[in-house]
Amino acid sequence: MLTISTKRLHRFLWSFVLLVIPTFVFSQVRHTVNGTVRDLNTGETLIGASIVFLHHPNAATLSNAYGFYSINSNAGRYQLVVSFAGYLPDTIGLFLGRDTLINVNLAPGTPQLQEVVVTANKNTNNVSRPLMGVQKLSISEIKDVPVIFGEKDILKTIQMLPGVQSGGDGSSGFYVRGGAVDQNLILLDEATVYNPSHLLGFFSTFNSDAIKDVTLYKGAIPAEFGGRLASVLDVRMNDGNIKDYVVSGGIGLISSRLNVEGPIEKDNGSFIVSARRTYADVFLKLSRDTNTNRSSLYFYDINAKANYKLGDKDRIYLSGYFGKDALGLGNTFGLVYGNSTATFRWNHIFNSRLFSNTSLIYSKYYYDITINSSNNNIGITSYIQDYHFKEDMEYYANADNKLNFGIDVINHATSPGVITASKTSSFNPLAVQSRYSLESAAYISHDLSLSDRVNINYGLRANVFTVYGPGTFYTYDSSGNAIDSTSYGSGQAVKSYFNLEPRFSLSWKLTAVSSVKVAYTRTTQNLHLLSNSTSSNPTDVWIPSSNNVRPELADQVSAGYFRNFKDNWYEFSVETYYRDMQNQIDYKNGAQLIANENVESQLIFGKGRSYGVELFGKKKVGRLTGWISYTLSRTERRFEGVNNYDWYPANQDRTHNLAVVGIYRLNPKWTLSGDFVYYTGNAVTWPSGKYEVNGQIVFLYTERNSYRMPPYNRLDLSATLQGKKTKKFESSWNFSIYNAYGRENPYSIGFQQDPGDPDKTQAVQYALFRWVPSVTYNFKF
């Protein structure tokens, strides 16, 4: 057995070498077709559109994040077929005798049956592309899925995909394949969004009016991404309508939105500004209680983007996000927090095969707390701020080879806490040292077609993380006392970590509509979110790796079977994964995480592992669309001093996780949709007994996470009524009900002395939402 497999391996390696070498040596003259794929009406670029030469299905490519594509072949007559979900495919005949520029504009619409048959055979990217563990959602898919408060929401919708778990009722936080909330890299136009939620998590920071495309990588993460262990959520903003001025918006019970877009110069540049605000606090203002009417509870956010074509080969983009949450109780307490990001990008087409994008990115997350009591006026602020340079190159060598390579340099500054205090305050002013770090990476990856059936993608990401001064760095003994400190000057390196992250994935087409895939991914993480409560708080603080905190490491292997049915109307996949995680972070009992210079002494380090099977079936075409996703999984952790150093379930360990989403177009006026969610309760620590200290009842715990919250289940329903559509004006009403059968899903279970009978103790369950109805009016002119 062993010899056979070694022989096979050798043969495989040899064929690999033989295939790679001639990659860039062209024996025959090849010509390239390149261009940009856009929406016919708005001029929005389309990300991930499929471009194939008809009758040469092997010559296929996808448009990139800027709508650019490049495909080449030997001279000859071809039919170029361009297709994209939700659009009518286009077939363009051409004679390829020299490099050709073809910009493609697709009209939105549902393909007629015949057309589907013609194009869909080629439209099997989910089957043939080697990348696995990738979920892509377009805004048109998100818009009909009912969510809480009637506000369509990317983060709530991806929680219904396989391998993704919700952070709890109404939470924007999510767990991917056993990873923690902070192990997801969330990008908005390439800028890291450090806190993706508003209003304690009930809304996500992503205003879906401004969003074009959402891709979640959870298995094989392409080499161009790095910095987080579990997943990458790549969110791209709309570019703005390049043809006409459009105003659209929505008025809801809790929030309203307005979106303005239009050309800067027709067909050459466009802009979009999209804003939202909640107005729950307006109702507080109506209160006669002075303390209540001075309270605030709102958020707003603004997305803005502009792009301009500088010539046939150059386009620049400027995009930004600004969001703010304010939460206040009268004059006594205020919490303000928010993200700001800005991205400047320059697309340059060197030639028909070489595409480059250069990005300069800024990102900041901050919070600001003010407390005013009789003579205690204090303020606490904290932030994390990034300056980021990124250069990505895509080289479309030929139909069988594509190279991606680039560099990525981020400078992080983290200020864990600055306390300001009035003279009479009980607290001292304090500035916990800021930390500075430089995260640099270079990557290369190669998409390679080994044969008609076998496609591989392999790559390597090399990253260096350096923490540098100024600052004093401590070392601690096992009980957390500082035993040594060293001061470093400005710019002086304190500690560097070098990591190589190999990425590999392979797809093997069994038939035209089915394949198996395998993948291996190593990821590292050098920024860590400190959070020891069940839900993530806006006041959680990010810290960099340091002399005490080592980079988190994860290795993941996954394998899957992919099959499309009935001319690709249906997609089905089963994926299985195993992920091993090192240098995971937990907290000592009673850890002080706020404004603590020695916060690193409060941490403990251990291991994690997760494994599972994910089933996914999706119906993409027809009056009824939707998906079913089921995950069977286990997530465990192992820490010294916890549960006798045995593996124990992580909080987010959920054995079963089921989501069903259905959207039904009843007639041109009415669209009905619904979703159902069921999952096993979180692993929790509950008391087994109690004892008495100072007359107070104290609960006694035995093992960590040895109990389970009751299972969660919920049904949401929604109906959208399309109003009269004229050329100038269209509108719609959306009615939805969250938690339609009003199940009291426990949000938390607490333990207390029975207020009615001091001789007893009791467990109290809190549930957040029963029947949250909402109505939203949307318009566009």
Binding site: L200, D289, N291, T292, L327, G330, T332, L335, I369, S374, N375, N376, I380, T424, S426, F427, N428, N532, S533, T534, N537, T539, N589, G590, A595, N651, T685, W686, S688, G689, Y691, E692, V693, N694, G695, Q696, I697, V698, F699, L700, Y701, T702, R704, Y707, E744, P746, Y747, S748, I749, G750, F751, Q752, Q753, K760, A763, V764, Q765, Y766, A767, L768
Partner: protein, 263 residues
């Protein structure tokens, strides 16, 4: 600060549904609970020994009788405590003083549990005042303890509040000067379960406790909360200064008291 934030969360929870649930909980393992105090006031000082019970039985904790209980001080004096009522043991002569280290030794059925605690220097409670907080349609009165934190040293405090002579056992208050060294402290005792009314007599005891006892109570607060809203991801038993897996604590602390009527 965290508590204010949590109260915002709690308000959200108030708007939600709350119900009593009966959970299937494991039985508690056999264990010993020891609670002992030595103060700078005149003795006798007491050590109580009991056992934990299962969550769903009555709050009556079996006392442990017949234990051998010794407290010794830095001068080498050892006081053997006598059992004055079941599970309750009293000293006979030892006198607590700031700066002294006290060692507790308890032997129950051949198993020895020990702890030591050093009594910090005294910090005097200057006064108590009252603070009114309006919000959500009601006014809450809270006592404020006012005292000077000594500069240049770590201090750990515990507050015990009495309403008309009855200790408010459900509210637990500890404070340390990690972020307040040398400040004049106005510490507000926010009550979770009791409400102060004008005319009530309030007494506050300020204890100076050592770091291990502070950690015990701080962890207790974090893992239990006030029992109503538990946000800790992984509540755990607080780290005790007692050896051999005993629950509870042994504290040598100073006491400074003030009383006031609520205007």
């Amino acid at each position: 600060m965290k508590s204010v934030y949590l109260s915002v969360v709690s308000v959200l929870l108030l708007l939600s549904c709350k119900k009593i649930v009966t959970l299937k909980l494991n039985n508690v393992p056999a264990a010993i609970v020891i609670q002992g105090n030595v103060t700078n006031n005149a003795g006798p000082y007491f050590v109580t020994i009991s056992q934990p019970v299962d969550f769903y039985v009555d709050n009556s904790f079996p006392p442990v009788s017949g234990a051998s209980v010794l407290i010794s001080n830095s001068e080498g004096q050892t006081d053997s405590l006598t059992e004055v009522s079941p599970g309750n043991y009293a000293t006979s002569f030892i006198q607590g003083a700031p700066g002294d280290t006290y060692r507790l030794s308890v032997t129950v059925q051949g198993v020895n549990y020990t702890a030591s605690s050093t009594m910090p220097s005294t910090v005097n409670l200057d006064s108590i005042t009252f603070e009114e907080n309006k919000g959500f349609g009601r006014t809450r009165i809270s006592a404020v303890a006012n005292f000077q934190d000594p500069a240049g040293e770590r201090n750990y405090y515990q507050f015990v509040e009495y309403l008309d002579g009855v200790q408010l056992t459900k509210d637990l208050f500890v404070f340390d000067d990690r972020l307040s060294d040398g400040r004049y402290i106005n510490y507000t005792l926010y009550n979770d379960t009791s409400y102060l009314q004008p005319g009530d007599a309030v007494r506050v005891d300020l204890y100076c406790i050592d770091s291990a006892v502070y950690n015990y109570f701080f962890q207790l607060l974090q893992s239990d909360g006030a029992g109503s809203f538990n946000t800790s991801a992984s509540p755990a038993n607080p780290t005790s200064n007692l050896s051999n897996g005993a629950f509870g604590y042994f504290s040598a602390h100073t006491v400074s008291s003030q009383s006031e009527f609520i205007p």
